[in-house]
């Protein structure tokens, strides 16, 4: 029989099989076309967020599935773990899907796969971020074509990511030339600056091209207009806004640079187009403009976790029972021979009493729990709003934990401080991330997102007016005016007015909440308390949930800085 298969028949069988396999693979690959672009200007930095855009084509109508990004952490010499992020789940269509993901280790390949509902991979594309890697945050230039340093990345306005944290790896963002960012892109840029980004805007006679309400809000000068200088040259002029400084002016006074702090970040406006600037001017401006520095609240988050009370029964209960029980037993042993009945009554009475007390002391609310979580976040709200979150975890034993977040907002974990040859896999779905915690392991995750302001704050001659459109009464709020902190009474829904008195310097203020105080101090320099009016709303609550043997205690602390209007 085997002999018969040899020869022509065998060759035919082999060819048919190969043809079948080839056609099957062609059919599968024809199902979905996938194109992926990663990074700002296709550049990524380890431990920083990066935008990922996945363009699908040739997707059959009504195809349900998910787009999953998988990365490996570590290197071949250490433990490697797969981090997955589902950037979209639902009905797939021919369009571009964008998300902002943390880049764990750009030296490892990154895979983007399109999966059906059963988890079968319809199509997978592997990227090599090694070729896109930058060692640290880099300057990005949008519009002009000059370079500030060797690591400069040139980008188009269309490459500005959807989420502000997509610019996490950008040290300075320069905009000018023929770049015309869309309204959404300006919003992203404004939020990024609010969070700590450093923006340099170059605009000379081409100011009309850049001009937009969003830009005017960001600029350190008010009422910008083009004026003609002697010799027929044009430049943009305006009045410096409060807090803005004239940082540079060239010798011929044909251009100047003004800068100011905007939220946690900085905006530098140069009244010259890129064509009017020499390389030396560009380098001078580059060194003068600050670098992006998004304040981390890791310290406050760790403090919030560290100061949480451990749930347990009263520590001295067992020693006290030991003492009382021993006494009862000794009495029993002493009088047991002479007065046995009394001895038994006393011993049984003591045991019953101690048992009842034990029952109370070990009631359910006193049962030990195995997971402590502190979710700390800071929101900075002005015209735009951003939120920076830090989730700290500590588990007594190995277990799964979950971090809830908004769709597409994936947490980035501080690996260096937490991993010790253990499983540190992270699986992110659109709205939650699952992590496996090891016993006695502290783990921290940073999370960025947008934030919308609901309050409207006006300060005028020692009197504050706050519009609270929500239904909830705001219990803990203070107003910071000219570096002084004024405690406010509960702010009810609707319009609230209060006359300020008895303010204390910010550095003397204490809210009695460790994390809140730490954040308020940390942000004193970042947000320039001396120059603006800030309503600071604090919210903190703790919840304990139990399910069978698992229990977790979560402390959620939020400090919201709302920029007020001063008249």
């Amino acid at each position: 029989m085997f002999r018969r298969l040899h020869g022509t028949r065998f060759a035919l069988l082999l060819i048919s099989t190969l043809v079948l396999l080839a056609s099957a693979s062609v059919a599968v690959s024809a199902v979905v076309g996938v194109e992926v672009s990663l990074g700002v200007g296709e550049r990524v930095v380890r431990g920083h967020y990066s935008p990922v855009r996945v363009t699908l084509s040739a997707v059959e109508d009504g195809t349900e599935g998910a787009i999953v990004v998988s990365q490996l952490t570590g290197d071949v010499f250490s433990d490697q773990e797969t981090m997955t992020a589902v950037i979209y789940r639902g009905t797939l269509e021919d369009r571009t899907y964008e998300a902002t993901i943390p880049i764990f280790e750009p030296l490892n390949p990154l895979e983007v796969s399109v999966e059906d509902t059963a988890g079968h991979v319809l199509r997978a594309v592997t990227l090599n971020p090694r070729l896109m890697r930058r060692v640290g945050p880099f300057p990005a230039v949008c519009g002009p074509t000059f370079e500030i340093g060797l690591d400069t990345v040139l980008i188009d306005a269309g490459e500005i990511p959807r989420d502000w944290w997509g610019l996490h790896a950008v040290r300075q963002l320069w905009i000018g030339g023929n770049a015309v960012p869309s309204a959404d892109a300006w919003r992203t840029i404004a939020e990024w600056v609010l969070a700590g980004g450093s923006l340099v805007v170059l605009s000379g006679t081409d100011f009309y091209r850049l001009d937009s309400p969003d830009l005017r809000d960001l600029m350190p000068i008010g009422n910008p207009e083009l004026v003609e200088l002697s010799g027929g040259r044009m430049r943009v002029q305006g009045t410096l806004k409060e807090g803005a400084v004239l940082a540079l002016e060239n010798e011929s006074e044909t251009w100047s640079a003004a800068s100011w702090k905007y939220g946690s970040g900085e905006v530098t406006f140069v009244s010259a187009s890129s064509d009017d600037l020499g390389q030396a001017d560009i380098e001078t401006i580059g060194s003068m403009a600050g670098s992006t520095e998004i304040p981390s609240i890791e310290g406050a988050g760790a403090s919030a976790l560290g100061s949480m009370e451990v749930i347990k029964p009263w520590t001295w209960f067992a020693p006290l029972v030991l003492l009382l029980g021993t006494l009862a037993y000794l009495v029993f042993a002493r009088i047991g021979v002479s007065r046995p009945r009394l001895a038994w009554v006393l011993l049984c009475g003591a045991l019953v009493g101690l048992s009842v007390w034990s029952g109370f002391a070990s009631r359910r609310t006193k049962h030990v729990i195995d997971l402590y979580v502190a979710n700390t976040s800071v929101k900075v709200q002005g015209e735009y709003g951003i939120a920076i979150g830090w989730s700290s975890f500590y588990a007594n034993r190995s277990r799964m934990a979950s971090i809830g977040h908004e769709a597409g907002s994936f947490p980035i974990q501080s690996l260096e401080e937490t991993v010790f040859d253990s499983d540190f896999s992270v699986e992110s779905e659109a709205s939650a991330t699952k992590v496996l915690l090891q016993a006695h392991e502290y783990r921290g995750f940073e999370l960025y997102r947008r934030s919308q302001s609901f309050f409207h704050v006006t300060y005028e001659n020692g009197r504050v007016t706050i519009e609270n459109p929500g239904e909830k009464v705001v219990e803990d709020a203070v107003l910071i005016v000219e570096g002084k902190v004024y405690e406010l009474p509960p702010i009810p829904s609707g319009t609230f007015q209060s006359t300020l008195s008895g303010g204390i310097p910010e550095y003397l203020f204490s809210s009695r909440r460790v994390a809140d105080d730490r954040i308020i101090r940390q942000y004193s320099d970042v947000l320039s308390y001396d120059e603006s009016v800030w309503l600071v709303v604090s919210d903190e609550h703790e919840t304990v949930t139990r399910s069978g043997e698992w229990g977790e205690k979560v402390r959620a602390s939020t400090v919201t800085f709302i920029l007020g209007e001063s008249r």
């Binding site: 976790l305 560290g306 100061s307 949480m308 009370e309 451990v310 347990k312 029964p313 520590t315 209960f317 067992a318 020693p319 029972v321 030991l322 029980g325 021993t326 037993y329 000794l330 029993f332 042993a333 047991g336 021979v337 046995p340 001895a343 038994w344 045991l351 101690l354 048992s355 007390w357 034990s358 029952g359 002391a361 070990s362 359910r364 006193k366 049962h367 030990v368 729990i369 195995d370 402590y372 500590y394 007594n396 034993r397 016993a439 006695h440 502290y442 139990r546 399910s547 069978g548 043997e549 698992w550 229990g551």
Partner: protein, 223 residues
């Protein structure tokens, strides 16, 4: 002799006190001492009441051995002496009831394990007590005096399987079930119920065997 005297004769009262005190000490040490999570990170605490139940069982075995050899008669063997042995063991466990109730705060979601482990402790204690009873009765019959060998053997039963397990690694991990500490550890672990049941069945089988032996000896004595 009054029941109180029988309970406390030949150093019994000290053993009950020892069991009560050492179990209480183990329970105290099983509790998390940290008041804040910061202290918990500095001084990690494993949520396991293993130490408490291990000490409880070990001390129960000591009580069983002492009571078994104390009750052992110089004359014929009797079932009521076995009942008395069981009574003494139950008395020792009765003293620890406040601890057993309090221990539930260490075992959230697994409160049912506490009566099972208490029952296991009673079984192990009874098995060792019966063994001591039979051995001592035989020694009386042969005219020998009591020795401390029972206690040494008991310690070996506790320790040897654990040493063997540590020496052989995970391939022979179930050998640890021969030690009461191994069984308790298994039972307090996750997804180990079938093997834990085998561990719990071991003292039960030993009791049945010793009872059969006792019955045979009683019959021989009657002849």
């Amino acid at each position: 002799m009054r029941s109180t005297e029988r309970l406390t004769e030949q150093g019994g009262w000290l053993l009950y006190l020892g069991m009560f005190a050492l179990s209480g000490l183990a329970l105290t040490l099983s509790m998390p001492w940290a008041a804040t999570v910061r202290e918990l990170i500095t001084f990690p605490w494993k949520p396991s009441p293993l130490v408490f139940f291990a000490v409880l069982t070990l001390m129960a075995v000591m009580v069983g051995l002492n009571r078994g050899s104390t009750i052992a008669p110089r004359g014929p063997l009797q079932w009521r002496q076995v009942r008395r042995l069981l009574g003494h063991i139950l008395f020792a466990h009765m003293l620890t009831v406040p601890y057993l109730i309090f221990a539930r705060s260490l075992l959230p979601g697994h409160v049912v394990k506490i009566p099972i482990l208490t029952g296991y402790s009673i079984l192990v204690s009874l098995a060792f007590g019966l063994a001591a009873y039979l051995r001592q009765a035989k020694r009386w019959a042969l005219g020998s005096e009591a020795t401390g060998l029972n206690y040494v053997l008991a310690i070996l039963v506790f320790a040897l399987p654990l040493i063997a397990w540590l020496a052989t690694g995970s391939h022979w991990q179930h050998i640890a079930l021969l030690s009461p500490v191994g069984t308790i550890s298994h039972f307090l672990g996750e997804n180990t119920l079938p093997w834990s049941l085998i561990g719990i069945a071991i003292p039960l089988a030993a009791i049945l065997f010793l009872m059969a032996l006792l019955a045979i000896r009683m019959r021989r004595w009657a002849r």
